[in-house]
């Protein structure tokens, strides 16, 4: 039981790290894009 708990936690940790990296990058990218739009059209 403990082993399977450890495995689950490891899989979760990896997945969480990947999700945070992807969505964090998307958020920062969209922020920069909106500033670029401002520069382009003003």
């Amino acid at each position: 039981m403990n082993q399977s708990k450890a495995t689950i936690e490891e899989v979760r940790k990896k997945g969480v790290r990947r999700t945070v990296t992807v969505f964090g990058a998307i958020a920062i990218g969209i922020f920069l894009l909106s500033l670029l739009q401002g520069l382009k059209y003003s």
Binding site: T19, A27, S42
Partner: protein
Amino acid sequence: MAHAATHDHHDDHHGAPSNFFVRWCMSTNHKDIGTLYLVFSLLMFFIGGSFAMVIRAELFKPGLQLVQPYFFNEMTTMHALVMIFGAVMPAFVGLGNWMIPLMIGAPDMALPRMNNLSFWILPFAFALLLSTLFLPGGGPAGGWTMYPPLSLQGDSVAYLVFAVHLMGISSIMGAINIIATILNMRAPGMDLLKMPVFVWSWLITAFLLIAVMPVLAGAVTMLLTDKYFGTSFFNAAGGGDPVLFQHIFWFFGHPEVYIMILPAFGLVSEIIPTFARKPIFGYKAMVFAIASIAFLSFIVWAHHMFAVGLPLGGEIFFMYATMLIAVPTGVKVFNWVSTMWGGSMTFETPMLFAIAFVILFTIGGFSGLMLALAPADFQYHDSYFVVAHFHYVLVTGAIFAIIAGTYYWLPKWTGHMYSEFWGKMHFWNSVIWVNVLFFPQHFLGLAGMPRRIPDYNVAFANFNMISSIGGFLFGASQLIFVGVIIHAVWFSKKKAPDRVWEGAKGLEWTVPSPAPFHTFELPPVIHDEELAHGHVED
């Protein structure tokens, strides 16, 4: 059964720090942070509500009675900012924090320390925002939409911009946390299409938040540089374009409306099946309808700008795209009604608020369709008709759903039943007075009364007086809500069972009431019959 991983009742407080500061300020527990969000939201609801009382008191009679016009404009601006970013959004984040891990069989949120930071940013953001009311030049008074050049007048711009940045950072971190939790922390067997609709609605809302909050951050950053660093993003004299701000703002602003209503759809989709004692009608259709609404929310932003002078092709595109939203929304409304059809219905307080939501939100939806018609919108634009429309959507929509969700899960949180009598008193007072408050505003708008004015033509006097009376009594009715919560938390003698409602399904009802400090430390073994949507046909 899914109880294998839960604690026994005698372990209820295992792990909860006894030190007040450590427990509440340094918490990484999803339930405690959920409680913090909900308490903060309630506080903001009353602060934003007190601003609304000032507005309705001033509009009780024609002429200037109580406040100066600039202060009135500060009140309309702050009322919106506080209610949107301080009351409605944190309330949904609080409900999500409390319930999502319980509903998917996760031990906590995926990023508990970030969860703490997401919450504790908010009090500082609102302290900054509210402090502007005490500045010598006054606070922001250009409306929550912050259109330049009006919003750039005064010295509170930097405070407003930094407060909005803080709220945005908090929301983005909260959204990433919710996505990471739902995608990675579900118990084995909790497939995506077995998740409760509330969890689905929050997953889609979190995508919306990540997509649009950075756009708002970009817009207000440009406002800041225009004001203090000599740029001309929105300054026509320097080659900029004020209409550009409106495009950027509403690219955020319209999805923001759905950020405030999609979790409400999720809540109502949990409550109605419970009290109709039937599974939700068309589970997959409900999920796809939420996703469709979220997608459409990105391509309708310029319907807020019909009167600004868009090209005809643009007006037609945004008009039809907006009207298209009625299709998935209609699917949802008909599915809620179909869920109730033939069910063994009972009318406890959460169900009453949920039914009121379906009826009154639909009224807000219909007036939205009227506003979507570009030619008609030229008449309605910036009138009280718009004010009536979005208050039906946000008060009888979002806030009624939050109240319904609170009554629904309060016994699970506190371990005690609330007073059904006072819950119903709260409901009937709210539902009557909210209509007295907002329904006459349709007539005022159609008759030509503009929004955001402290004084008006005597022709509008009667309906304004009725609306103000409704406003005062609706505001007072919410004190019953506070009383009911205080009673349930500290004074109620009636213990809540684990499965509080006879027809309730889902993992959250398999844990004891009150929910132990730690739940599902070992993933629960899930059997389909325990889940609300365990038998979804492919």
